[in-house]
């Protein structure tokens, strides 16, 4: 009998609380726009912050309020933009996929005696926080002779949620299959080396050195010296030399890859041409600068 009463009391209490909650959910019902949930579903939910908002739901809210344009989600790409446009009843322009590119070719390789064969020259041993910003702030603009090159302490690796950027031989390298183009890495790079490029671009200039040719040559075997051979050979006049550094205007470039064949430093990457002949470089042996 006692057990029956106990069961009844507990069941009754549960029923009462349930009814109170049901009533409360009616009384305190907050109307939310059903489109908000739909927008949230379109977004990848990685909260990478590439759109400039605090996360995917913050971006969805901003789109709903009309405060943000559709198509800011690099991770979701074109598919996501079109789906969001369909929900909001507008047309979205096609979003092309972009991936990050590290504009530095100074990956280092040494011979058995420790002489630099290829890559950027290290002028000092840096001992401190394993972080690019800290390394770039020490006296003499960091441990590299080159004031523009990748420091290789992996600040970009740490912020990448997708495991798409790794430091190989002292230079960050992007895995284009894994990269979604959120550009979180670009925001932390103290040397502003990382730019978005379309992944089907064959021709990219992987150097950021704006020092004069002689200084660049002393600092790195693969630095752009601004010789202008690529500019001369380009049939589309897409390449300009500014501040001793070649730049490609992608609105003119047609991916022919001629520039990659003439670059004496072989720093113009062309994914169409697999094996370019190695450029002839003298190993740098002199005293440390």
């Amino acid at each position: 009998m006692d057990i029956l009463i106990a069961i009844l009391i507990l069941g009754g209490l549960g029923l009462v609380f349930g009814l109170v909650l049901a009533a409360a959910s009616k009384v305190f019902y907050v109307e939310t726009d059903p489109r908000l949930d739909q927008l949230n579903e379109c977004l990848p939910g990685a909260n990478c912050g590439g759109c400039g908002f605090a996360g995917c739901s913050a971006y969805a809210e901003a789109v709903l309020k009309g405060e943000a344009p559709i198509g800011k989600c690099a991770s979701g790409g074109n598919e996501c933009a079109q789906a969001m446009a369909a929900i909001m009843g507008v047309k979205a322009e096609a979003v092309t996929r972009k991936v990050a590119l590290v504009r530095c070719s100074g990956a280092k390789s040494y011979d058995k005696e420790g002489n630099l064969l290829k890559g950027a020259r290290v002028k000092a041993n840096y001992e401190g926080f394993h972080d690019c910003l800290s390394a770039s702030k020490v006296g003499g603009s960091g441990p590299l002779s080159c004031k523009f090159g990748c420091l290789g302490y992996g600040s970009c690796t740490k912020v990448c949620q997708y495991g798409a950027i790794k430091v190989v031989d002292g230079v960050a390298k992007v895995d284009e299959d894994l990269c979604v183009g959120c550009m979180a890495c670009a925001a932390v790079c103290p040397r502003n080396l990382i730019i978005p490029v379309e992944p089907d671009r064959n021709v990219v200039i992987a150097c950021n050195s704006m020092a004069k040719g002689a200084a660049t040559t002393r600092a790195c075997t693969v630095g752009c010296i601004g010789c202008g051979l690529c500019k001369k050979i380009c049939p589309k006049e897409a390449i300009t030399i500014e501040n001793n550094l070649a730049r490609i205007d992608y609105s003119k470039c047609d991916n022919c890859g001629l520039c990659a064949t003439v670059c004496p430093k072989k720093l113009i990457k062309d994914s169409n041409v697999e094996n370019l002949p190695d450029p002839k470089v003298e190993p740098i042996n002199g005293p440390m600068v």
């Binding site: 106990a6 009391i9 209490l13 609380f17 909650l21 409360a24 907050v30």
Partner: protein, 192 residues
Amino acid sequence: MQAIIGILIAALLSQNFILVKFYGICPFMGVSKKIDTALGMGMAVTFVMALASAVCYGLNLALVALKLEYMQTVVFILAIASIVQVVEMFLKKSVPALYKALGVFLPLITTNCAVLGVVLVNVQNSYNFLLSTVNGAAGGLGFTLAIVLFASVRERVNKADCPECFKGFPIALISAGLLALAFMGFSGLSIF
């Protein structure tokens, strides 16, 4: 009046729910990284503890009348969970700013053992309605005091240069222990 003052001092200092009785350690460790969120959590817990104490006082009267005292714990848990749900819905409707600020901490209060603890303490000490509610509110304020103190300690400790093996939770647990040790100094304050 003397009883109320006694309860206030006990709940805030000498019998502090976290640092002396060790109730509600999970939010104490989990939500104490920043002073702002710690304060928000403390206020929410205070509100729920006071409300739960009042409601459970009535429920306990009914249970005693039916000689079902052995069901106190399960009934109280049921009541606390419902109260937290109602509070959440109420805040979502009426104070959306606070609702957003508290975020996930609000439903987490359901599993905060300090709330259940204060209700059971009320029953054990056979407090009347007023004293129960005062004990609930004061217990919540004691929780707030402890978590805000601890959050401010942690904010500084995080910036301090401590050995690699102690970084993060180990040093936080040690600071919590030292804080609890400091609160032992209040144990002489019990006046009832």
